[in-house]
């Protein structure tokens, strides 16, 4: 293709919407490339570019932008305002395009559609049609691409919710067939420990940022249960049982997952993964810790990531946490036997 190349930074909203975004550009016939998974260099460059007070995910996003900048003609930096009605992402998502422009040095032109789902997607569709027109694609084709990308995104979500791993969900969303349901990885048939890991998708699914947390748990013989495989409806119900609805999408899901698990059990412990400097989590973590303490049943651990997080420290804390859960379990078993 001789057309322009669009770069999509692999950070923040990417982990929620990459199927939608990449599907859309594909439907337009425009080449779109994502930045590589986070690495040391990307993180370091982002940290240097951002103001010190910015949160870790924003800093690493800057790094992805800078990584892509010399290799693409346009940068796709959407303004994610609301992913669902009346709920915001967060102020930094709202000001992201301008923060990028101000901090990340010399950049190719930005494509910054306002993604606001407050009014049933109508605004987002129009914003993406504008993106298409800047790329020289007509309205009819843009609309078709948008519809198809939406459908693909919905299918991806649905398959994920059935408990399939992300790569298989991605293949299925692209039109591939799913393997038989019986091949779906079963959860802990062997009585392995299960630990829920709650946190924003851009931390959970960026293994460099979270220092390979999920794989580490597996190696300790623990099955990590991420928030997005919990039954969505029940999770949101649990979140909305609070006197006031939480008005940030990510935080509401974290809180809902936590409350749901505190209520219903089904896991042996909860790890809450947060990044230093995350404003909404600074409040949500405190509340969730209080609720966990009041019910007093499930071990709860807060894991705060920043650019100085070390692997050794993380490993020690995980081992101690898992040991504690095992000991509790053994004590309980002994108690019943006696």
């Amino acid at each position: 293709m001789g057309g322009p190349r669009v770069g999509i930074p692999r950070g923040l909203g990417f982990f929620e919407y990459h199927v939608l975004w990449q599907g859309f550009f594909e439907g337009l016939g425009v080449e779109a490339v994502a930045s590589p998974p986070t690495n040391r260099d990307i993180l370091d460059r982002g940290v240097r570019a951002a103001v010190e007070e910015a949160c870790l995910p924003v800093k690493v996003y800057f790094g992805h932008v800078m990584e892509l900048a010399p290799r693409v003609d346009l940068l796709f930096v959407p303004r994610l305002v609301r992913m669902e009605r009346r709920l915001y992402t967060c102020p930094k998502f709202l000001g992201l395009p301008e923060m990028v422009k101000s901090c990340a040095g010399r950049l190719p032109p930005l494509l910054c559609p306002v993604f606001d789902e407050n009014r049933r997607g109508s605004k987002a569709a129009a914003a993406f049609a504008q993106v298409a027109s800047r790329l020289g694609v007509g309205l009819a084709r843009a609309r078709r691409a948008w519809r198809q990308a939406r459908a693909r995104q919905a299918r991806y979500r649905a398959v994920l919710a059935q408990g399939w791993p992300r790569d298989q969900a991605l293949a299925a969303a692209r039109g591939g067939a799913l393997p038989q349901a019986s091949l779906r990885p079963k959860r802990s048939p062997d009585g392995r420990l299960k630990v829920a890991v709650l946190g924003h998708s851009y931390l959970l699914y960026d293994p460099h940022l979270n220092l390979g947390l999920l794989a580490r748990l597996e190696r300790l013989g623990v099955e990590p249960i991420t928030g997005d495989v919990l039954p969505e409806e029940r999770v949101l119900q649990a979140a909305d049982s609070l006197p006031k609805r939480i008005f940030w999408s990510f935080a509401r899901r974290t809180m809902g997952g936590g409350l749901y698990l505190l209520e219903r059990g089904g896991v042996d412990g909860i790890i809450h993964l947060v990044s230093f400097g995350c404003g909404s989590d600074a409040l949500i973590t405190d509340l969730l810790e209080r609720f966990a303490r009041r019910r007093g049943r499930l071990p709860f651990m807060l894991l705060t990531l920043d650019e100085h997080s070390g692997e050794a420290g993380l490993q020690t804390r995980l081992e101690a946490f898992v040991d504690m859960i095992r000991r509790r379990r053994a004590e309980r078993a002994a108690g019943w036997a006696g």
Partner: protein, 380 residues
């Protein structure tokens, strides 16, 4: 029922007047000081923003004075302020304090919610009584801001040190005693006349500084360690872009800028930030542009550590500063901020502005400079 509420600058005067005129038993928390800050910081989440901690300190100290109900405002995001009351309620509960909380905010469901809350507060008062109380409070909000605008301009010109603040202290007493909007106005005029009498001509080397930032940090001198007064004492005339009466005008009263594009602050911000980001983030950017256009020598942004909207503004202000050639200083403050460090930085900043003026680099000349180190701790 003994009702208390958080401090924010002179907020307590109109709120106390409004509630007492409706027969509510009011407990004003002791003025914000080290004790309130330490108490709040001890019990609040470490990385919560500073205003939440100070509020909490206010509640705990008001409790000692017998308060049992908290009147607080809420919001719908994305700034964390909208969720303060929820977090504070759970903290107070875990401390074993059975505080009742009445949170005034845009109702999530029915307007009835809001009405029921007001009923709980004022009982069966007539609508006329309520409106009269609101009118009294509103006249106070406006007058307090009018006088303080003058104070920030005239303090650097006072003929005898402390004269302006003595007038201001008397004024706060007068307005606190006023029972009608007419009395408020009379007291205001008296205060303005008295201020004019104690002020002399502008001092030599006068510079003009604009203040932008998060509303609580700008309005509560005990939280910002008296930034405005310190600037005045260094010979700077100060203009504040955030005022309580303006906030009420744009958030509670019908908005005159229904067509948001007409709002001059948003228009000024537009080349740098074209979307709201919650709190005062957009206003901080827009007002910095406007200060540059109006020929101010420099701008100071005040924000609490970890403030989400102001971090967005902080990231963008270097561009505004470079484009308009106006120096911007960002002050990030919380319970760890220290006076000595702040004073040094303010002196250096005012010095810089003065030297730029002498070199003819004043407003709209040459490049700007940005210093955005925090005053207190930077990391844990």
């Amino acid at each position: 029922m003994k009702v208390t509420f958080p401090h924010m600058g002179t907020l307590y005067i109109p709120v106390r007047a409004m509630l007492s005129s409706l027969g509510v038993d009011v407990v004003v928390p002791p003025p914000v000081d080290g004790r309130a800050v330490a108490l709040g910081a001890k019990h609040a989440p470490e990385l919560a923003c500073f205003p939440l901690k100070v509020n909490l300190g206010n509640y705990l100290l008001a409790r000692e004075l017998g308060a049992d109900t908290i009147l607080m405002a809420g919001g719908t995001g994305p700034c964390r302020f909208g969720y303060y009351a929820q977090v504070q309620r759970e903290i107070l509960r875990d401390l074993g304090l059975g505080y009742e909380m009445i949170v005034l905010e845009p109702p999530q469901g029915h307007l009835r919610e809001l009405r029921d809350k007001l009923r709980r507060l004022v009982g069966r008062r007539s609508l006329a009584d309520v409106l009269r109380a609101i009118r009294l409070a509103w006249s106070m909000f406006k007058a307090l801001d009018e006088v303080d605008r003058e104070v920030l301009k005239l303090r650097c010109r006072e003929l005898k040190r402390g004269a302006v603040d003595r007038v201001r202290a008397r004024w706060l007493e007068w307005v606190g005693r006023a029972r009608t909007p007419a009395e408020v106005k009379r007291a205001r005029d008296r205060a303005l006349r008295a201020l004019a009498r104690v002020a002399g001509p502008p001092p030599r080397g006068l510079v003009r500084v604009g203040l932008v930032g998060e509303i609580f940090m700008v309005l509560e001198p005990a939280a910002n360690l008296g930034v405005a007064e310190r600037l005045n004492r260094l010979g700077a005339e100060v203009d504040q872009s955030v005022w309580l009466s303006d906030w009420i005008r744009s958030h509670v009263l019908p908005n005159p800028f229904r067509f948001k594009r007409l709002d001059p602050v948003r228009r000024a911000a537009r080349p740098y930030l074209s979307h709201f980001v919650g709190g005062e983030g957009l206003e901080s950017v827009g007002n910095t542009v406007r200060y540059a256009q109006r020929g101010y020598d420099g701008v100071i942004q005040i924000m609490p550590f970890t403030c989400m909207p102001e971090i967005v503004a902080q990231s963008i202000l270097p561009r505004v500063s470079a484009d308009h050639g106006i120096p911007v200083l960002t002050l990030i403050m919380d319970e760890h901020s220290a006076e000595a460090g702040l004073q040094t930085r303010l002196e250096a900043f005012v010095d810089l502005l003065r030297r730029r003026r002498e070199k003819g680099l004043g407003p709209k000349g040459g490049g700007g400079g940005v210093d955005s180190k925090s005053t207190g701790r930077r990391r844990r």
